[in-house]
């Protein structure tokens, strides 16, 4: 009887001076669903890479079926039956689901060799059999790229099972799914477990861990700090281990007192956006002293809506800010009119990571007095304005000349907020404000948003965290397929929000 299907024993791994894993010990029993939780940067990904044979530990070793194992590479881990589903799916979007299923290991008719013909009938039979066994339905001839995300994910899982995976690793499998789809995924995983497959999944949502896992291991700052069966622990206990003993912060869920309309959007459509969803006839209003949440499964037009409102992509229809028509204006003019923009992509759009903290926090103001005076730029005024802005949002930093990339995710985001709220604009467009931010940082950013609202600011907030939307928003708009599918109260039932999020083609 095997005790440990997959495990790690005193694993250490460092990258240069960064100690990513320090003495990690993990034991996943056969046919168990084991959750690994921890903040971003806690060392989860490094551990997964070691378990898959992509990285070798500096010290310690991996355990497979009670045996100490040293992988020479990922192929060997695959041969041991370890397979991983990544956050970004590895399906070829232009091939059918069936083609993706057998890609690289096609069943052939007759003899093999260069002239072998693929036996599609056998391939489809195999696909159906596997799908039946775990109780899902798949339209195998659908193009992968057009299949719903959860179906793509299921096919990815089935593909691994077909190749003999007995130990399945999932990296934040629910990140792209709607609540209903999450439930389907969980049912599927439970059935796979019943079939004898061991499942290791990474998450940072405690709700999911308690719903699905048999056992949980918490990683903090590269070390295992807690491991217990779910029957012997609680959500609060797990949360307290994730964040160094302190309980998870809860933002005040006081609602705002909305005033006059600040942002008026009428009939907004995006003309043609390459490779992304168009926006179709969007109309809504955001009032002063109000946070309007924007919910939706990732990729349903939230990013494009924010970009269209800020002038980063072209759109038709009208956008008014406090009665001023912004239609057709570029970002610099919209910014001047009073819009702050918090990009979902902090590393590539929100900040210039290779630039200094002070340059990042004043970017966009380089032509405005006191920093810019005609042809001249005053470094002294720049420094003074930068320090003032950083101080106002109490950003923690070493020196203002340090690169902004030296800051933690939460402090980086505070730099973005310090810049975008500096001119107290009437409207903030905020996307995924707490992505990659640790729990303490999340509380601080929520406080910044609530404070902005309390001073009469209007906020449009897009987030993939329903909790966040429900804590902060006054009402929630749900986006499906490039249009607003409906509006709900902030305290609406999660199931209702979820149902709206997966509504198809609300034409």
């Amino acid at each position: 009887m095997t005790a440990i299907a997959l495990g790690a024993s005193h694993v250490w791994k460092s990258y240069g001076r960064v100690q990513a894993n320090r003495d990690i010990t993990l034991a996943v029993a056969p046919a168990e669903i084991h959750a690994i939780v921890g903040e971003n940067g806690a060392g989860k990904s490094t551990l997964m890479r070691i378990l898959q044979g992509i990285e070798r530990p500096d010290r310690g070793h991996v355990i497979v079926n009670d045996q100490k194992t040293e992988f020479s590479g990922p192929a060997e881990a695959l041969a041991c039956g370890i397979g991983m589903v990544h956050q970004e799916f590895m399906l070829a979007p232009d091939l059918s689901l069936l083609e993706n299923l057998v890609l690289g290991d096609e069943p052939v008719r007759g003899r093999g060799g260069p002239l072998a013909r693929i036996d599609w009938a056998a391939a489809e039979a195999q696909g159906r059999e596997l799908a039946d066994r775990i109780g899902i339905e798949v339209d195998w001839h659908r193009r992968s790229g057009s299949a719903p995300v959860h179906i793509q994910q299921f096919v990815e899982i089935i593909r691994l099972l077909r190749r003999g995976t007995r130990i399945l690793i999932l990296d934040e499998p629910t990140a792209v799914l709607a609540p209903q789809q999450v439930n389907e995924l969980f049912d599927l995983l439970r059935r796979i477990r019943a079939d004898g497959t061991t499942i290791l999944f990474i998450s940072h949502k405690i709700r999911e861990v308690t719903a699905l896992a048999d056992r949980v291991t918490v990683i903090r700052q590269g070390a295992t700090v807690f491991s217990a069966a779910l029957t012997e622990t609680s959500a609060d206990e797990i949360a307290s281990h994730i964040v160094d003993g302190t309980p998870p912060p809860r933002a005040a869920s006081e609602r705002g007192a909305p005033g006059d309309g600040v942002l008026e959007v009428r009939g907004l459509s995006a003309l043609s956006v390459e490779k992304s969803r168009q926006l179709r006839d969007i109309s809504f209003t955001v009032r002063a002293g109000e946070i309007v949440g924007l919910a939706g499964v990732a990729g349903n037009g939230q990013v494009e809506l924010m970009e269209a409102l800020f002038g980063l992509i072209r759109s038709t229809g009208s956008v008014h800010l406090n009665g001023t028509d912004l239609s057709g204006l570029r970002p610099d003019r919209r910014r001047a009119a009073g819009i702050g923009f918090i990009s979902a992509d902090r590393g590539q759009e929100g900040l210039a990571l290779a630039a200094s903290i002070e340059d990042n926090v004043i970017a966009g103001s380089q032509r405005q007095p006191p920093i810019g005076k005609g042809w001249w730029l005053s470094r002294r005024a720049l420094r003074r304005v930068a320090l003032d802005r950083l101080g106002r949002l109490s950003v923690r930093y070493g020196a203002a000349r340090d690169k902004v990339s030296s800051l933690s995710g939460g402090n980086q985001q505070r730099v973005v907020f310090a810049r975008e709220t500096a001119g107290t604009p009437p409207l903030l467009l905020v996307s995924q404000p707490t992505r990659g931010v640790d729990l303490n940082g999340i509380a601080a950013i929520h406080a910044i948003l609530l404070d902005f609202r309390a001073r009469g600011g209007a906020v449009l907030l897009a987030s993939e965290e329903l909790d966040e939307l429900q804590i902060l928003s006054d009402r929630i708009l749900v986006m499906v397929d490039g249009r607003i599918a409906g509006e709900l109260a902030a305290d609406a039932d999660r199931g209702e929000i979820g149902r709206m999020m997966v509504m198809e083609g609300a034409a």
């Binding site: 910014r335 001047a336 923009f341 990009s343 590539q348 759009e349 210039a352 340059d359 966009g364 000349r401």
Partner: protein, 347 residues
């Protein structure tokens, strides 16, 4: 804070010194292989390039065109625009200045030189405005367009110097000499060091100010670091790219003018000994920093001026100097590799 400052300067220093040290090491191996003493050779190069006032003047004279072409390159590189067309703008500016210098009336007197410089700057600016506009508006890859424009510039100037502007007095393919009033003064006759070197220093100084102390210069740096970020904070990426190209053209054109009016007094076929490309190596070696580029220009100037005399006094072939230059270039291009990676990541 001081320690951060110290660290950046240390990084810059190693970035500069490493290619040079590696080049010296490889040359030492080559020298040993041909049975020469590396130490003797290096000290000979050193004394030939810096050993006396005359030799220093000759080194600085060779460094002069590189000051211009390095700054012209750096203006674009720091904005993430991979302009390899400085060579072409140098030729165009040089010919424009020389033609103005012999065809405008000599009676203009002292005003002639600044007029010639201004004309050269305008021609250089117009020359590089085109690829800038193509990149900003139509996303035409600037590497391809500027590289091709170099050939066009060489062909146009080659045609003009062999045809319409050919000197009747000379047997070679040269233009008539410029008026004496248009010449840039020699600083230490009989050495060829001329006041174009001072103009080059002034350009370097203005570049340093522009880069850090003007809104446009700071915007250039932002666009070079991250275009999406720049757009999101309201910087016009298009304007910044076109401005970088135009300013690069101005500086390259002035460099050509300095070379034509100060060094040769005329335009000749083979006007530039690849100054645009050596300038690119200087900009990369100096990491676009004014001090680094000054040192880089002097280093390459020293190698060039020592190279011509060194084979008179030893058995060492001139090729050795070319080897050193080549290796410094290769290893300063390691930085260039990083730029291309950034370009790809942005795409």
């Amino acid at each position: 804070m001081t320690s951060t400052l110290f660290k950046t300067w240390l990084e810059r220093g190693t970035g500069f010194a490493l290619p040079v040290v590696i080049a010296l090491a490889v040359s030492a191996v080559v020298l040993l292989a041909i049975g020469e003493s590396p130490l003797d050779t290096f000290s000979l190069i050193l004394s030939e390039s810096f050993g006396s006032a005359r030799r220093i003047a000759s080194t600085l004279s060779a460094a002069t065109p590189l000051l211009f072409t390095a700054v012209a390159t750096a203006i674009c590189f720091r904005a993430g625009v991979f302009n390899v067309g400085v060579e072409g703008a140098f030729l165009i500016g040089g010919l424009a200045a020389v033609v103005a210098g012999f065809s405008l009336p000599a009676s203009l007197g002292w005003a002639l030189t600044p007029i010639c410089l201004a004309i050269a700057a305008a021609f250089g600016a117009a020359w590089l405005w085109l690829p800038g506009w193509l990149l900003a508006r139509l996303e035409v890859d600037e590497v391809v367009s500027t590289l091709m424009l170099n050939f066009i510039a060489a062909a146009i100037t080659g045609y003009l110097v062999n045809g319409p502007f050919l000197s009747a007095q000379s047997g070679n393919n040269v233009t008539p000499p410029v008026h004496e009033a248009a010449e840039l003064s020699r600083l230490m006759p009989p050495a060829t060091l001329h006041s174009g070197f001072l103009i080059g220093l002034a350009i370097l100084f203005v570049y340093a100010i522009w880069a850090r102390r003007t809104p446009a210069g700071v915007e250039g740096a932002f666009v070079g670091l991250n275009r999406r970020f720049s757009r999101a904070v309201g910087i016009s990426v298009r304007h910044t790219i076109i401005l970088a190209m135009v300013l690069s053209g101005v500086v390259a054109g002035l460099g050509g003018a300095s070379h034509g009016l100060g060094q040769l007094y005329r335009y000749t076929d083979g006007f530039s000994a690849g100054y645009g490309f050596t300038g690119m190596a200087v900009a990369l070696l100096g990491r676009n920093h004014p001090v680094g580029m000054l040192l880089g220009a002097v280093l390459f100037g020293a190698l060039a001026s020592a190279g011509t005399t060194i084979q008179l006094f030893s058995d060492i072939p001139l090729d050795l100097v070319n080897i050193i230059q080549g290796i410094v270039m290769i290893f300063s291009v390691v930085e260039l590799g990083r730029i291309t990676i950034r370009r790809r990541a942005r795409a």
